[in-house]
Symmetry: none
Subunit: 240 residues, 2 copies
DNA sequence: TTTGCACGTAAAGATCCTGTAACCAAGACA
DNA sequence: TGTCTTGGTTACAGGATCTTTACGTGCAAA
């Protein structure tokens, strides 16, 4: 621990030694990139703890660093969701490399920022500015609202709430959590403000939400036929 | 290699043993999820090869599986971009778990592979939209109805009620529960609405249900089951 | 043909899901 | 430190969906 701490300090890494195992909720609050656990110290509950943490925080890199073990034990740990298993005693440098490898793979797919802006109906999503626009007017989306919009616009299929939560929040959704619903509501409100004639986020009852820009006859009395109004609002010169 | 091949076959994994190191371009063409290399076999050029592959294919999981090594070597390998380092001799099972752990983390941020939509008779099942269609017209299936339809269309054999219940509801069916029957009825009704000339879900008395699109012609409705006869899908003049 | 089940059908009640709004906590900022 | 913004929770109402129940019909064996 002393050697490891010294090396981590030298690398400028933030870390926190935990004397007792911390529950998933506490780990979520710490916003960790990686967690190193010693199953031997955790005792017989270690397996359950490992499983709990891995399932609850799928985005967290979990490295098991413990004493001599059998193949079956290592297999079990990795199957439960651990990213790596390293046997004590080990060099701090090697452990750090293993942690980095796990975190690196985790971060890799987060990095691709600066995506091209794309338009859907009247709105334009700009990942580079973390904001959505209607005719160059900002929708005033908050960070989380934008992330959800960005995720939804990224695929045509129906996204289940659990998927949305996991990809935006970074960990598994608790049963009964309504956060996704609330944010979708806020999103819809802002989208409606900026683009009243369109509907974008569609509810699939019992499943989740799907993004698809569609005209809505909200303005006119026409129920279906919208042929009289020759309005060209498609593709403003934003997309550059 | 023999043991590993056998285990991979049992798991249904696709793999390809390479006698000689393959360049990054060749690897790209293979669309691999993971690559296992033995640095000892690669010889002195191994480090360069590892670096080249890891930098050219950042999305590829690279596992080094080689003989006894020093800490410095393992650190070097991981720093160059390897995702894991496992020492020979090792159990095939453990190696597979390490590969799975690396691939799992890689896959996490990807969109779940959207299953292809499949057609049966006149209907089309779209898993990405959780919905069934007849000529692009929605059947208005509820979430549970779709799940049952999706399950039934997934296999040709007769599915017992208990199987259906367990796979859709997620837990064992209580004795005397008629839910499956009720949902099959609703399904049949909606299928009949959208595609009156066909029958899709067939009852096997005392067993369960089986999905098989069959014409219900006014002319030649066979009483016996026609299991092996291929079904010609053609466009009858009936549809609109 | 009779008889005992299994299945099809329909409707009503219970349950679950979702939109909505109000509320509280945590962080940003002056 | 106080205020404002943002994130997240909870409660409630209305509606959609699911489950249960009941009864009629059809199948298969005796």
């Amino acid at each position: 621990m002393q050697v490891l701490s010294k090396r981590l300090d030298a690398l400028g890494c933030e870390y926190r030694p935990l004397a007792a195992p911390m529950g998933p909720e506490g780990l979520v609050a710490m916003r960790l990139n990686a967690l190193v656990v010693d199953l031997a110290i955790l005792g017989p509950n270690g397996w359950g703890y490992l499983e709990q943490v891995c399932s609850r925080l799928p985005g967290l890199a979990v490295i098991v660093c413990t004493g001599p073990s059998s193949v079956a034990q290592r297999v079990r740990g990795l199957r439960l969701g651990a990213d790596a298993w390293i046997t004590k005693p080990c060099h701090a440098e090697e452990l750090i490399c293993v942690i980095e490898a796990a975190v690196r793979r985790h971060r890799r797919t987060e990095m691709p920022a600066l995506e091209a802006s794309t338009s859907f109906g009247e709105i334009t999503v700009r990942p580079d500015l973390y904001q959505g626009y209607v005719n160059d007017v900002s929708l005033e989306l908050t960070a989380r609202e934008f992330e959800i919009l960005h995720l939804l616009t990224g695929s045509d299929r129906v996204l289940r709430r659990e998927e949305i939560y996991e990809r935006v929040w970074g960990y598994a959704m608790a049963h009964g959590d309504r956060s996704v619903d609330v944010f979708v509501r806020k999103l819809r409100q802002k989208l409606r403000n900026g683009s009243p004639a369109w509907s974008y986020i569609h509810t699939h009852f019992g499943v989740g939400y799907r993004f698809a820009p569609e005209r809505e006859g909200s303005g006119g009395a026409d129920l279906e036929l919208v042929e009289d109004s020759p309005i060209d609002v498609l593709d403003p010169a934003l997309t550059g």
